[in-house]
Amino acid sequence: MIDKLLMYLSYPFVQNALIVGVLIALCSSLLGVTLVLKRFSFIGDGLSHVAFGAMCIAGVVGLTNDMLLILPVTIVSAVLLLRKGQRAKIKGDAAIAMISVGAMAFGYLIMNVFSTSSNLTGDVCTTLFGSMSILTLRRSTVWICAILSVVVVIIFVLFYNKIFAITFDEEFAIATGTNAERYNLVLAVIIAVIIVLGMNLVGSLLVSALVIFPALSAMRVFRSFKSVTVCSAVLSVVCAMSGMIISILTGTPVGSTIVAVDVGAFAVCYVIGWITGGARK
């Protein structure tokens, strides 16, 4: 088994996949706490559907690098959704449902009508569940993922205190002179980038699991914002790493294996939280 693993690890495309996977897992976990606490868990889900729609269009138009279309479309949707959330006639969750389901329907429709691919079902399945695409990443995509991940991590660190302030109490932050609107915008852009990155790893249906599971797990065990953030980052990286290795060794699909490991980690954290919480009281 070890030999098999080492053999795989000596291939550059496997190394690439692992590096990209780890980077994506790291940055996808960072904003999980904020999204869960602001009751935005579904935004990740909604955005991934939008990204799916954009990906279909990119595929049909024949863009060589589909990120160029997916990223801007998703960012715009994220900004609109977070903006609308505050003072819209259609309430946040309904708006998300509308946009996401609509985008998905149109994406599949366009793919079906215009696609030249011989294996349509396979293509759709790949976009939705990620399949083995992480191992067949092109060099350009690897670079884009790596650069974007690093940028997301840097922005998160720089805005960490401001993100904390607007997550804990947005009204207080505004009243005491923090430009919450600006930072919500930053938040929206980062979320969109994370979703698009995450889709490469686990596919669009599973990407919100990558965002919220590590955060929810960490919140079971830790009790300060900093420790929760650090723990969810570590947890996410460990889960993604072990998920990828398991999938390489056993031949299971990458995306669902990683998410399954995430779910397992949540169960473990839940039990730990239950025990330590019980002991404390």
Partner: protein, 237 residues
Amino acid sequence: MALLTVKDLTLGYDSREIVSDLHFSVNAGDYLCIIGENGSGKTTLMRTLLHLQSPMAGQILAGDGLKLNEIGYLPQQTIVQKDFPASVSEIVLSGCQGRCGLRPFYGKEEKKLAKENMVRMGVSNLAGRCYRELSGGQQQRVLLARALCATRKVLLLDEPVSGLDPKVTADMYELISKLNREGITIIMISHDISAAMRYATHILHIGDSVFFGTRDEYLRSDAGRIFLSQKEGGENT
């Protein structure tokens, strides 16, 4: 010049007027209680003073070198905060966010300020504890320490004692009163008429009739007499 001057203010939302032609001013060192029935616009007034929403008409002027981001605010607790994983020191420190501007991290000065205010509110022994595991009174003290990090001059308090037991309520009022004696101007929304009468220097009553003046004037006024007798009647039954 007064710290805050409100002129011809009309409040409301969705083009529905709640209060119109409101006039009052707050001087440094005042202890103003805003009272009135539920739905009379107390919270709307507070949100307008904090620039969380814009007035339908009229002006709010700040004087005495008070900048708009130098107001401390103790909001009513939100649902989000009830299960927020954050330590006490993280929360108090976040009160300094306004003075950081674009600077990404807190400096020595902010950390010192946060520490001082934790000591001032008697929560420094809780610094590493998780906020959601504290009692209601402790949580209010933490939020008060955070508000003090944002201001040296004015505190706006929205029902600071709601949900607290009588003993903790009394402590909370004493604490607020102590801050007032130390020179911080207090503007407080309250349901608790007897406490308002005991601690406030000025009363703003909004509702069907609007009254603004000192506490003694209020006790002598028609609006005050009617409201007080109603309240007492209500409490006795």
